[in-house]
Symmetry: C2
Subunit: 338 residues, 2 copies
Amino acid sequence: MVTIKRIAELCGVSRGTVDRALNGRGRVNPDTAAAIHEMAEKLGYEPNPAGKALAARKHKPIVGVVIYSEGNPFFDEVLRGMEDAAKEYKIYGFQVVHHRMKGYSVEKQLTLLEEIQGGINALIISPINDPLIAKKLNEMVDAGIFVVTVNNDLEGTKRHSYVGSDYFNGGVTACALLQVLIGDIAQIGIVLGDRHVFGHALRLKGFQYRMQGVSKFQIVDIIEHEDDDFLAYDLTRQLFRNHPEVNAIASLAAGVYGICRAVMQLPAEKRPVVIAFDSVPTTVEMMEQGIIKAIIYQHPYRQGHLALDLAFNYLVKGHFPDCRAYILKNEIKLIENL
Amino acid sequence: MVTIKRIAELCGVSRGTVDRALNGRGRVNPDTAAAIHEMAEKLGYEPNPAGKALAARKHKPIVGVVIYSEGNPFFDEVLRGMEDAAKEYKIYGFQVVHHRMKGYSVEKQLTLLEEIQGGINALIISPINDPLIAKKLNEMVDAGIFVVTVNNDLEGTKRHSYVGSDYFNGGVTACALLQVLIGDIAQIGIVLGDRHVFGHALRLKGFQYRMQGVSKFQIVDIIEHEDDDFLAYDLTRQLFRNHPEVNAIASLAAGVYGICRAVMQLPAEKRPVVIAFDSVPTTVEMMEQGIIKAIIYQHPYRQGHLALDLAFNYLVKGHFPDCRAYILKNEIKLIENL
DNA sequence: TTGTATGCGTTATCAA
DNA sequence: TTGATAACGCATACAA
């Protein structure tokens, strides 16, 4: 096993010098630094995380988590994954501070970021799609903060990595799943939160892409409910009035419970096949009642855990993420394998 | 953060004494030991894995892996998970030695275990269901070896934990999936390796249990192919000859490629709906060709990784597994979300 | 039965 | 610009 000590001996310098050279702390002769780097490279030096952790205990890196999670049960599991990871890493002097948000207010998220900016070493955020947020994230990266986006990405920013699901494939899978459930002929109502939300739009695109393979699938309407269950309820009822021929509902976002309550008002034989995303408690309840036939599941727990893993690996182990984006699989769940 | 040093100070003894008391190394006055234990309990002492790892570097714990993996592509992913975990833990002086086996010979596994018994600190094994193996595992546990069973459990032994899939639920899910794919009426051929293999039998049970909910599902035959693709091929062809009414095939074990090759000989309009387990390369190929409609997936990579995690947590961190069994979910995969 | 000293690999401080 | 030294938490050989 190759250590700083070994490198120091081989290069004929002290461990302190090797440390400074390898970690770019300055105050070291460029020539010796080059020699040290070369030697480390040659021997395949990998810093020992145990030693690092032990020595870093006075540092106590702080991770800020900013998620618009209030009232959004999807994030409960994401947060549980983060908490489990945090517990695991606490021993390394690793602190996680949560900042939950209610809505999608750009100003609120922005001021929150400004508030915590000075006190964190890493940021895990589900960012709102807005140029101001993007700019702020870039600013924080420049200030040396390790930034991971979760569940929603801001491409084109300097964020170090992204953890989330594959939205386009989610739409593709939803369409394929519907075909499996209903056969080759369907009059489909699509329900989502907002066509301008990145993830929703991408799922819709995926759905439409996959629909090209099924000539007798027709989208009769696309409803936008702003992630509000009651609006979803009203609009879905309206959909059934305007389009009694609808025999399939694809819910691509939240608002699932509202949709289902509207479906339940139809007589059993007229109810469409319903599929949805995410196994939040109300959705599970609707599966148990047979209203929803199948869902697509996006490993929320693992999303949360993985995001914190990345921060830990960077801050404690000094490991840069392997990928710029960690995209988890879409899974299909029936009530039987929930 | 509470450390051995702190406990030593508070108890008015030396760190060495605390270490001996807490780790049961003997040579310590029962009274002081009791006081130390009490203090540790009160303060919620958790040994720091970084310190432990650092101090234990001379020990180099060795993990032996015994898996009948040769010629069984399912285990390729399991092994990949193990290898990734091993790479991650190598820095802690953690060594993994693989022992692949070809068949299911009890004697071979037994002699292999005897060979390696003396040289390992932990054992990860997919054990053959046999009293002799069970006895040997108990013996190894008694000798202080940490034992984890993978993919196949030996209940009633002293093994510390099990990592694998939920076989009964896999069968339940397979039946539900078939219903989704084909509707409420089906003449089903069940194909498995050996009715006496624990996992296969349990899946069959699960399938039959779920069938109670579908009055017009009928099992016309149950084929056993001993995990041999060519035997599977012959027997499946025979099935089609004897039962031309078969419109669904549920493959509950290996031999998938043989089954599919038999299916491909039927004219397209007479081909049954086929479902299978595990996304091994030949199975994926058959999905791409449309022969298999859907599969059930059991997170093989995670099984392998998790098994090694448990060994690492025990040997390096001193953490006993939280559960006596880690049962991963069955997932449903269409070609779209593979 | 108990305490002391040393080392594991890394980082930080201080002196040279 | 460098090197020596102490510290992090734990384990252990050895001394008392």
